[in-house]
Subunit: 253 residues, 4 copies
Amino acid sequence: MTTTTTTTTTTSQDPKDNNDHLVQSADRKHPANLIPELCKKFWHLGWVTGTGGGASIRDDDLVYLAPSGVQKEMMQPSDIYVLSITAQLDPKQRIYLRSPPHYKPSQCTPLFMAAFTKRNARCCIHSHSQWAVLITLLLENAPSNNRLFEINNIEQIKAFGKGYRKQGNLGYHDTLRIPVIENTPFEEDLTESLEEAMEKYPDTYAVLVRRHGLYVWGDTVDKAKAQAESLDYLFQLAVEMKKLGLPWLSDIA
Amino acid sequence: MTTTTTTTTTTSQDPKDNNDHLVQSADRKHPANLIPELCKKFWHLGWVTGTGGGASIRDDDLVYLAPSGVQKEMMQPSDIYVLSITAQLDPKQRIYLRSPPHYKPSQCTPLFMAAFTKRNARCCIHSHSQWAVLITLLLENAPSNNRLFEINNIEQIKAFGKGYRKQGNLGYHDTLRIPVIENTPFEEDLTESLEEAMEKYPDTYAVLVRRHGLYVWGDTVDKAKAQAESLDYLFQLAVEMKKLGLPWLSDIA
Amino acid sequence: MTTTTTTTTTTSQDPKDNNDHLVQSADRKHPANLIPELCKKFWHLGWVTGTGGGASIRDDDLVYLAPSGVQKEMMQPSDIYVLSITAQLDPKQRIYLRSPPHYKPSQCTPLFMAAFTKRNARCCIHSHSQWAVLITLLLENAPSNNRLFEINNIEQIKAFGKGYRKQGNLGYHDTLRIPVIENTPFEEDLTESLEEAMEKYPDTYAVLVRRHGLYVWGDTVDKAKAQAESLDYLFQLAVEMKKLGLPWLSDIA
Amino acid sequence: MTTTTTTTTTTSQDPKDNNDHLVQSADRKHPANLIPELCKKFWHLGWVTGTGGGASIRDDDLVYLAPSGVQKEMMQPSDIYVLSITAQLDPKQRIYLRSPPHYKPSQCTPLFMAAFTKRNARCCIHSHSQWAVLITLLLENAPSNNRLFEINNIEQIKAFGKGYRKQGNLGYHDTLRIPVIENTPFEEDLTESLEEAMEKYPDTYAVLVRRHGLYVWGDTVDKAKAQAESLDYLFQLAVEMKKLGLPWLSDIA
């Protein structure tokens, strides 16, 4: 097992201000305001316990990220990192346009970037939800290269888009499939297998990480949030179904 | 299976203002203010996850509706649709007096209308509560044309009215019966079977939708909300009873 | 089964103001302010779903009560009833010093009064908590005249006073015993059996009502609330213990 | 079993003001402001039900403590005790620099002090979480002198530091071990066995107390809170795993 070593640099046109204007806006919908608001909600939902999990938003060329190791329900716009997608010539050399003074970049960064660059997502959410973890545990009997959460004939499935560059949403009778990848000791090392899962399941908007949690994204911030909530709903429902002896897949005309 | 095709038109006496005054009021009890407040509560209760579920209020001739696909805990009065009951001459031709600028009408609209026109309800709530979905799953062994959630001898049953045009509430020993209808790929297509269930069970204030959720209404906004909360309480209790091997029906003098 | 018929009268020195000053205070700790605040918390805890449950506070001769059928998380000080304990010469003839304009008195009133007059309580809380209901269901195998929730060797038991007119609290090894009474179709008709349970278990601060919920009181508002929270904690814990096959009583030196 | 008898004295340079300035600060991060804010969160998480549980912060020589028997979600900075670590020459003679007017010191005080003096912690949290209690119940088959909660291969384990005076955090494959000590009728009497557990498991940041709850600490307030949240997450997950027949320890390369 190898650990990716990535160097990070903060660059700024005016080093005096660290480009702080990039995270200062009176608009509630500005990414630097939205990320703390979303993370506060996710903390209450049990997705970002301790300092786990997080969220990132892409706005054109700019990517806004929560830092590593912060309490997600307490985050402020001034805690946000900003980097430029086009400036990432070398994936091992990440250049931050704006960095908060006291933090480190999140190890989730390359995983969020994968959703932005490989799937043109605008928002990616990383959850440590217990329901997501339990689903991966309930799937451990399957071979490690073929673990898949599958559920059909549940109305909430209609919350998911049909897939990358496709119009419309899944239907009630469609089967939602979320692949499970192996966890790694260092979160950055998940990047390769996450990207592989994106290739193998090109239409998925989410990837489960075994005994760890979930990455879920969307074509807009609203869609990423709605898909994240809907997946967590389905995971919790599926765990309850398992306790009650009800199968996840059924054959309804 | 056929999908209902409905055309929608927004009409306005003064096209310049889109009748926005219909959703502008300083009164907290105005339907355009109540619906966002109720939906925020329902989001926290897990009834309107993602963008599922919703609520509608009727005030005399006017019906106020949440739009399709919005995050229910973030809704504003300006997001509300308004239509006139008496203007709905042709059920396939819905005329909106006021429409929000960026949304589509909810597919739940004809289902809400059924509660208003067939049962003279003043408020109808659509929940995707997991407890409601689990109840329908636990009833799947019954034949599809005769699925009924039945529970008795629980105090919370007294929260329900005796039925349409009847005075008073159910008693402790009465059996509460909620019919379950089949889900359909398009929500509008539920209308016919919802109306059939209303005919078959004329006193019910709610209809479960298999693997989908619940429609519940009331003679006032307060009663609709109280009945919705009480049903969710009973559904959750019934799931816990099932886990503990306790029957839903009992014979107590 | 007979139903108690009680007539209620509102009396007022100055009929013009309905003694509204009795529920108007800038002091957060005034009973008319505390009851709505407590009920809001209880709604979030799932104790007063729909319009079920409630709370009452006694301050010297005055008893403050929530009305019947209101949404407990929305209550205002102006919704509160006030009656005088000394003026209740005939228990069937309740005289209200102050009544809210649009409501009916709660059927819980004589039960709250029992806690105030028989046990000198200052606050009594009525919860419909599902955990309380499940405990009564799990005890149904016992004969109806001898149903008792018993648990010992759990730290939270230390939250309970030793009993009526006794100093100090229960210890870790003490067994907490909460009697269960039969439910009745009309809540007022519970009064006699609640008072009997108080006689039979003079040290209890709470009585469970089968398939209904809980009455719990305390020597102060703070103690009533702490005992109510602690009981709900123990009920939920006991349900989880049952699911995991763990006994409620154990023999630890 | 013997009960520790501790005398407490409040000392003050200026007896007129009881050193109230020690708990008065406009800084949200001041311990006297942080403790009420943390306790409010913990109440909502179910860790400090009734008046159980609590939290303490050390800032250099000063230790800030919640009083005994208060409702933790209602606490104010003026309710906080302050004592000096260096002034505690005799562990049986505790000298408070500042005392709130109406309360008693918490019985948890010597346990918090153990974390501060033996492990150089800056914050210690005491939770009555039901998940913590259930874990201790599920471990009762082990001999009482060797009860240990062990879990591995769960991402959230990475939230824990490697141990006392060690750099870095646990890894995904590492086994988190939390010792369980016996409960005692008087909380102060836990001190000796808590300190023994700290000696036997020098790297643990937490100790479970059988049928009671958890003490968890950290090198900073943020780390104590993150470790407390992460432990509660793991306890809840482990209870769910037990219900689903999934083992807490697994062998993953």
